[in-house]
Symmetry: C2
Amino acid sequence: MAPASIRDVAQHAGVSVGTVSNVLNRPGEVSAESIRRVHEAIEALGYVRNDAARKLRAGVSTTVGFVVLDGQNPFFGDVVRGAEDEASGQGIAILYGNTDEDPKRERMYLDLFEEQQVRGVLISPYGDINPRLERLRSRGIPAVLVDRFSGDGRFSSVSVDSVNGGRMAVEHLIATGRRRIAFVGGPFDIRQVNDRLAGARAAAENAAEHVDLEVVATDALTVADGAAAGARIIARPRADWPDAIFAANDLLALGLLQALIVDGRMLVPDEIALIGFDDNAFAAAAAVPLSSMRQPSRMIGRTALRILLEETADPELIPRQTVFQPELIVRASTNPRR
Amino acid sequence: MAPASIRDVAQHAGVSVGTVSNVLNRPGEVSAESIRRVHEAIEALGYVRNDAARKLRAGVSTTVGFVVLDGQNPFFGDVVRGAEDEASGQGIAILYGNTDEDPKRERMYLDLFEEQQVRGVLISPYGDINPRLERLRSRGIPAVLVDRFSGDGRFSSVSVDSVNGGRMAVEHLIATGRRRIAFVGGPFDIRQVNDRLAGARAAAENAAEHVDLEVVATDALTVADGAAAGARIIARPRADWPDAIFAANDLLALGLLQALIVDGRMLVPDEIALIGFDDNAFAAAAAVPLSSMRQPSRMIGRTALRILLEETADPELIPRQTVFQPELIVRASTNPRR
DNA sequence: AAAACTTTATGAATCGATTCAGGCTCGATT
DNA sequence: AATCGAGCCTGAATCGATTCATAAAGTTTT
């Protein structure tokens, strides 16, 4: 049997289709009696609104697209979760796309979202997609950048102050008595990596005492690259080891932690302190719980979605940049030396 | 300017709307000349198909819903990724919903997916949702269970043989010389936990020599619960420690690893061997790389999506249960004692 | 009691892509 | 020369919810 349509409901309730629609969308303008009968009919027939027809006529969409840079990174998982929390309260579902830093996939998902006429798009962008986003906007689909400051201010964005985060991380290392600090991270064309390094440099230069800051470059922000960097570091003569490492994100830090274990002896934190960035779920869960610069990842997702919905409600809104401050989370990996 | 519709394209190309539609959907029945001109018009006008209208008339959907039990667990992240890989090749997008084991959220997402008339639903179910899924099926929306064997065979499912996995894990511990084994896991109303324990018991009983198997129950499969269980274990007199632990999943194992470190001395693997289940990305990345029973998580997602699409193509297909075998991945955490 | 509002209900028109019965052209067959 | 069929195209009808001009019924004001 074909699923019930609004016409069936109207017939069953003894009212017109217009009234059924009004019950569903503006119950204030309908009598209590009609509401009751319509709901009864809906119940009896198991009626479910056809979202395609609704979208076609009314032009309102109940989905939001989210294009994520790296689905494997728990940080993005948390951001999506935050957006989902905010969305589900409003009956909105999330169309999810993972690009793995592939511009082709990025484009594909934006095309798909345009066909779907989503209500809006959240995106942690990889390539230069301003033109694509402008085009979406011209079709009434706004976009909010996530985890990326919109330099030119053409779109709203929600991000974290990475420069300040880098500064705080290195200041913390200095405060715990370390003076020979290594920054592990890369590639430097990722904005966040650059910013975190800049902050680290600022902290090292402004320190009361002399602080060494060396840079150990990695190819990507992964556990494997972190482990490789760690192996390179401890392959040096012991005298050349740093006494602290600031990793550009927690994945690198986890890799480093793995490399900094020799003969069952954990070098962290007594020989080498270690601090990461993100404070993902696995930072606290590491063998030596990791100090980290917490990004309010869930809040980032919530906020981005909220801004997006505000912009769909009023397309004249001027784009705004929301920047959160990271928070220093101190755990065992940066305990002062014994 | 309103976005171009198929009518605008037809006018611009000097053909009828029917022809444009044919170019898009069955190019074989259209002359080369028409195809050329239609494509030219599409290009010139920046036409994008309106998926809502298409869905309404043709009844075909380009989205698939995926309801996930625990979005924080990297295992599910991988499964989603696998489904996404398979989907994106077919121009299908994934509507993503995370339930966090909340039956209310589960129901909400299924309602949402029904309104959306998704092509089908992938779900790692929590509560008893057979009635809801039957209803979806009666509306032409098939469902495939993920990471859960469909006992009654009413739906297709893709899962992993947890009993066998549990057996293999414990056999491996025995083979490396351990005889006092602890199973850490819970709650036992989660099917997988029960199955893994059953497999573990079988291995212990069938061993050539006598093997002790104790059960340390946890409230959930999280890192925190793992750490708590580990703390309880090493609080005992040393003589009562097990010499190996089989954790019901990797999250627990990571928590255990954290607890099994005393005075900077890592007890794993020399005092206590440790093996997990899932082989998520953080198992290999742990301070002591974790042995684990690998679930082919990405393949699970791919396979589930493929089966789903086959069922949408032919609703008469009989549900089938696909069961993968887990694979033993040996890493340092179960190295033989030195 | 008439006029002026209010409140509520009606149902045809509409959104844009697809479908399909019917029509046109042109070469092949009889 | 008439008939037929293949190939291609046309455009009205359709999917189901929303919107809105119109109307009916009821209430208040004069």
